[in-house]
């Protein structure tokens, strides 16, 4: 059963079907959302755009759920999907090693060169010790996404999932459609 949903694009933010007011667009929008709705997690500024997007979307989702406790739990999974994997972070890292005369590989850029880092960021923030998965597919496909989430509930430990689409091709092009679903008895 779907409990809450969040959609973020470079110029729209929708929480549970209701538009969230904002002034900025593109990558600056994510910073605005952080400052207006979160503001106590400076690690945000170190993240790549994919992680920023997934982090902000999950924060809005969990704020909509309410009663945030940050107590460790194993019954909630984080299962996300996208098309571009960690392309923006890969490109940013490549830029640090592209020029043989200016070859300074950035450790901070390198650590984000895997898409599943975003699921880890969400799990670390919320102390989730359940399943975390990131699956790269050709395009947004609700059928594939829902089938995978349904399968995840076969694990008896999992009673709820933060799941959905978190995609980013560069700093200005991104889309998150995530939701919180609970296991149906």
């Amino acid at each position: 059963m779907m409990r809450h949903s969040v959609i973020i694009t470079p110029d729209h933010v929708i929480v549970d079907g209701n538009p969230l007011m904002h002034n900025e667009k593109g990558s600056v929008l994510l910073t605005e959302l952080y400052r207006n709705n979160i503001g106590d997690y400076p690690k945000f500024f170190k993240m790549d755009t994919l992680s920023k997007l997934g982090f902000i979307a999950s924060e809005l989702l969990l704020n909509a759920e309410g009663n945030r406790s940050f107590e460790p739990r194993e019954d909630r999974a984080v299962i996300l999907f996208n098309r571009h994997a960690s392309l923006q972070a890969d490109t940013a890292y490549q830029a640090t090693i592209q020029d043989p005369d200016n070859f300074f590989p950035s450790p901070a850029a390198f650590v984000y060169t895997l898409p599943n880092i975003v699921t880890g960021e969400i799990a670390i923030r919320n102390k989730y010790f359940g399943e975390t998965s990131f699956i790269v597919i050709d395009d947004y496909d609700e059928k594939i996404i829902m089938e995978n989430l349904k399968n995840a509930f076969q694990d008896p430990m999992t009673t709820s999932i933060i799941g959905g689409w978190v995609d980013c091709s560069d700093e200005e092009h991104f889309e998150a459609k995530i939701f919180l679903i609970e296991k149906e008895n």
Binding site: P42, F45, F104, P107, A108
Partner: protein, 85 residues
């Protein structure tokens, strides 16, 4: 030395994405790790890269970082004595 310390603070803020922080917010003698700026192990690696990129200093032994990154003042002193650019 004061100028180097100020420049170094600017470079640390930029390299580590310490948003909302100004050079004036960083105490010359405050610990960079742990309770000071609260930097982590990835930040330490980034500082090593930053020293090589901006000052031509290659740390042969990464464990040296523990001593060098004690504070901005210690770091500036090390850079002043070992810089090649």
């Amino acid at each position: 030395m004061d100028e180097l310390i100020y420049t170094l603070k600017q470079q640390i803020i930029e390299a580590l994405n310490l948003e909302d922080m100004k050079p004036e917010d960083i105490d010359d003698n405050a610990s960079l790790f742990g309770e000071g700026l609260g930097l982590d192990s990835i930040d330490a690696l980034e500082l090593i890269v930053m020293m090589e990129k901006n000052y031509g200093i290659k740390l042969k032994d990464p464990t040296q970082g523990k001593e060098i990154f004690k504070s901005v003042a210690v770091m500036a002193d090390f850079i002043a004595k070992n810089r090649t650019k």
